[in-house]
Amino acid sequence: MIAIVDYGVGNLFSLKSSLARIGADCCVTGDAAVLENADKILLPGVGAFRDAIQKLRATGLDETVLRQTEKGKPLLGVCLGMQLLFDKSFEYGEYEGLGLIRGTIEPIPVPDPVRYKIPQMGWNSLHLIGDHPLFRFIREGDYVYFVHSYHGCHCEESTIATTEYGVPVTAAVARDNVWATQFHPEKSGNVGLAILRAFAEN
């Protein structure tokens, strides 16, 4: 059972549907006990970092997620759910994250804002780094769907995929049992479903 963390942020409908599509058993929950009993945890999120981390802490589920991942339970962060895993974000201020991935969340430093609009919104290709199991069903250059203005920085040791948007942009990170994507696998067609399948079956 994959438990999708419901802390009042984001559209969980598509994540749930896409996991159902690949035949993964999943549930949407804000209940710590359900997260504790789940085999895997998926941390979603859209919107601003500050709101999301505050809501996650207000529910107390941040502690549950931290305890469960310390025990080795697989975690997948998606979009803002990835950013929350970092040490710190500089989106509209400076906010502490969960500290599961070393690094900071900073604006994408596009060299040419006329050509590269912010947010990056659309399909971009992945450059895979190393040979991470999250990408075992997809190939170098496959396209996924991004919507974001900020990205992971100083996280080279955890970066498993980048995308090019005038500069290299962090597309996915992983450290041990903690995996995460900046893009939306649930909105990335067959490639996205193949990525979710790799997480579900690992």
């Binding site: 896409s18 006329v114 090019e164 948007y165």
Partner: protein, 258 residues
């Protein structure tokens, strides 16, 4: 590299796609769910569902259909039509829409753009503009292009972006339905200042029109069309192949691995 997007638009009334479509292999040619899955498999980068229902019953049916589609199609979905309030945003987002497009509702109440952007994020709010040349000016038209509002379209779009619209759909009434190509002049005028994605709509008649669009105006992010896709004049895999051959970056979908 980020790609140019190809977006089919489906008009839905009382739960059915209007402007009949004609594809082989489709069991029910006016089922939004089947058609959405078909386009998704064909490589569409995004889908727009436009609700042209007038009745309350039709609207409820639309949200049922939307939920069913969103449960089966895993590319971004934009919903427009009948969006007048934050409750309307909420209604379609809960059914699986990723973005919501506002048009007449924003003309009646421009505050709606900012309020929705604040609650759901800029990326969620698409400002759809029907524009037409009147007295040497681009003018905003309301009510499906029937009513001249007197508002300057470029100024309206500039304000919309300032209020928080994350994307602009520019539909040229002058070229819509003519199939003589997109309105390059009008698009160029908007792209010269818009710092959010601009989606071109109205006028596509053949593959070459998309090539011309993306080559003439590199700042355009996407091309939207309805009937040429529905009637099969342009097949999306062919369109993408030609664009790729002409050096325009487009996404290639992978076959299923599950």
């Amino acid at each position: 590299m980020i790609t140019k997007r190809i977006i089919p638009c489906l008009d839905v009334r009382n739960g059915r796609v209007v402007k009949g479509v004609n594809f082989e292999g489709l069991h029910d040619v006016s089922s939004p769910v089947e058609l959405a899955a078909y386009y998704s498999d064909a490589g569409a980068d995004e889908l727009v569902f436009y609700d042209i229902t007038a009745s309350f019953e039709g609207r409820a049916l639309f949200t049922d259909i939307l939920r069913e589609t969103a449960g089966q199609v895993f590319i971004p979905l934009t919903v427009g039509g009948g969006i007048n309030t934050l409750e309307d945003f909420d209604r379609v987002l809960r059914c699986g829409a990723d973005k919501v497009s506002v048009n007449s509702g924003a003309i009646r109440n421009p505050e709606l753009i900012g309020e929705a952007a604040k609650r759901y994020g800029d990326q969620c709010v698409v400002l759809s503009v029907d524009a037409k040349r009147v007295d040497g000016q681009y003018r905003v038209f309301a009510k499906g292009g029937r009513e001249d509002t007197g508002i300057d379209a470029l100024e309206w779009i500039r304000q919309g972006i300032d209020r928080g619209a994350g994307e602009i759909v520019l539909n040229s009434i002058d070229t819509d339905g003519v199939r003589g190509g997109f309105d390059l002049e009008m698009l160029d005028a908007v792209c010269s200042f818009a710092d959010v994605p601009v989606i071109a709509s109205g006028g596509a008649g053949c593959i070459e029109d998309f090539v011309t669009l993306f080559q003439s105006i590199p700042r355009v992010d996407a091309g939207l069309a309805a009937s040429i896709f529905h009637f099969g004049q342009v097949a999306i895999p062919d369109l993408k192949r030609v664009l790729r051959e002409r050096g325009i970056p487009v996404r290639e979908e992978r076959r299923k691995t599950f």
